[in-house]
Symmetry: C2
Subunit: 337 residues, 2 copies
């Protein structure tokens, strides 16, 4: 990892984001892809166990998984806490600004292939995904692993990967080597890193990271909410009084992004930005919009995503106890000289 590329929130556990203006194109290099860890990076598991309510428990090593048909997908991952830093009053938790999001090509086997090899029993309802990373619980009385479950129907989607490569190279250590789960379209908490065990469970999983974190009310987080962000100009930038091209990224984990509207007058008037084609239904899209400042002074830029069902990104901050999924429009104030 290159310290110049990421802004660190903490070193241990490792939490780091990338200011959006550093992104170029759709693909985020690993050196600029946000990292969100809950515990120290663990030793790499040698095998992945598939166990619980299955016909044939399995132990697979990396070569076993590599020998299965490959699947590659371009996927935007976003931390559920991205944007928490802008909540007022603040919410507890990592104070992510807008850089806990990135897009990479992930390659692996389809999780479904492996689950079918093990043969889930008829009474299996959830898949509990266990990382090798572990540490003290919140009350420090126990040691807990990072564990998160998926309803079995979601786990069986072809696009859910056991990923071993990112952008054409073996997974970097901080991104979950040797194997991580990759759940396209969902907030990053579902894409368990350093995957050690997959346990087919007969009842709803109630682990800490399933029932006490990454929930809104009593509902575990799932798909990434629609969002458009401005990558350039940056907040506080001073620009000459001539036309410029604002640019940014927009995405929705549901694959239903329809358009991006841009305002250069603090939200009084809006017009559509030009939106690039999607590389996949899970990948963010670049947008750009020409802006012609009418006078010197301050100018407030805003970008706002709309989905195919006509819904728009909220203008007001999104509040819940733990500060998740705050996809509110994020204004950028610039000064026209």
């Amino acid at each position: 990892m290159n310290a110049d590329e990421l802004v660190y929130l903490s070193r241990d556990p490792l939490n780091a984001e990338t200011p959006l203006e550093r992104q170029i194109g759709v693909i985020t290099p690993a050196s600029r892809h946000y990292v969100r860890d809950h515990f120290a990076i663990p030793a790499a598991p040698e095998r992945l166990a598939i166990e619980g309510a299955v016909r044939t428990p399995l132990q697979l090593d990396l070569d076993d998984v590599r020998s299965l048909p490959r699947r590659s997908l371009i996927v935007t991952l976003e931390c559920a806490g991205n944007g928490r830093a802008f909540l007022d009053p603040p919410a507890a938790g990592e104070q992510w600004r807008t850089g806990a999001v990135g897009t990479a090509e992930w390659t692996g086997a389809s999780l479904r292939t492996v689950l079918e090899m093990a043969g889930p029993l008829a009474n299996a309802v959830e898949l509990v995904c266990v990382g090798a990373d572990a540490g003290p619980s919140a009350d420090a009385k126990a040691r807990i692993a990072y564990e998160r479950s998926l309803p079995l129907a979601d786990a069986m989607r072809d696009d859910v990967l056991l990923a071993y490569a990112m952008n054409g190279v073996d997974l970097p250590r901080e991104h979950g080597a040797p194997l991580r789960l990759l759940v396209p379209g969902w907030y990053g908490m579902a894409s368990v890193k350093w995957l050690a065990r997959l346990r087919l469970a007969e009842r709803r999983f109630e682990g800490f990271f399933q029932a006490r974190r990454y929930v809104v009310g009593d509902r575990p987080l799932r798909e990434i909410a629609p969002r458009a962000l401005i990558a350039w100009p940056r907040d506080g930038e001073r620009l000459p009084a001539r036309p410029f091209v604002a640019r940014g990224y927009a995405w929705s984990g549901r694959g239903d992004l329809a358009r991006v509207a841009v305002s250069a007058d603090g939200g009084r008037s809006w017009r559509d930005a030009t939106l690039d084609d999607a590389l996949s239904r899970y990948a963010w899209r670049q947008w750009h919009a020409a802006v012609a400042p009418s006078a010197s002074g301050d100018l407030v830029l805003m970008a706002r995503a709309a989905t195919t069902d006509g819904a728009q990104e909220p203008l007001e901050e999104v509040r819940n106890d733990l500060g998740y999924a705050n996809n509110a429009v994020r204004p950028v104030r610039i000064e026209i000289a």
Copy 2:
């Protein structure tokens, strides 16, 4: 550059390829992307001149180009000499095997934007693209630059880029920093690196690399011919007598790839491989096919691309004076133990 990832044909000029089995997914990291240079890597040009038959000659620096609307495309580049090593008898030139091909996300401004800023005059017919790299001519009597032209109609296609980034980072030096041309769909010779000058010309350009190299007969090479290659198993590999999944890549610079057929009996019988979706019309696609060896002994695998017009990749080698565009089916012999 990482010496472990590439196989060097020469160090000065730098010529290196990547055995196809090292590729994972669609995106080729820069460390594994083939490099084909004609001269030593030059000092980075400070400005790009747009000159000749234009209304307004321009001098642009990198920041000027970066301020224009961005365009990102996933593009497979292939050297026109890829596959030359298999010609029998051999043809003169770099002896590329099958690794002088790779796929990256390239980001830049549309060349058209810059040409329109300069305003081509009505009598302009070609765009001569001049790299900063230069060296002795074939007879050593003069010093020549790497120069290649595009018909103006081709240069004005929106997808032709003045690229400054590859896979989300600034162009690496060996890939043409600070600015290179990127002509999607065409053999790599058109994507001039270390771009120093763009000259609008009133007549057909007859420079060395336009009229004496990268030609078949008297026709300059253009679009990449359709091709499917096997990435795994490797030629000479020994495998146990059980079913396996062969995999590889297929592409066509004309964007008309329709299917890949695979034979496991040296070409007597063929069936269709599973072909992944295309990330762009210019990007190679992964394919895979299950193979069930019927007996021990040698087995000859072949993969063959077919295009939407029904044409198939040739089974016999493609010969021309300089050994270009040899897209013949490349068999892989494996031993079943």
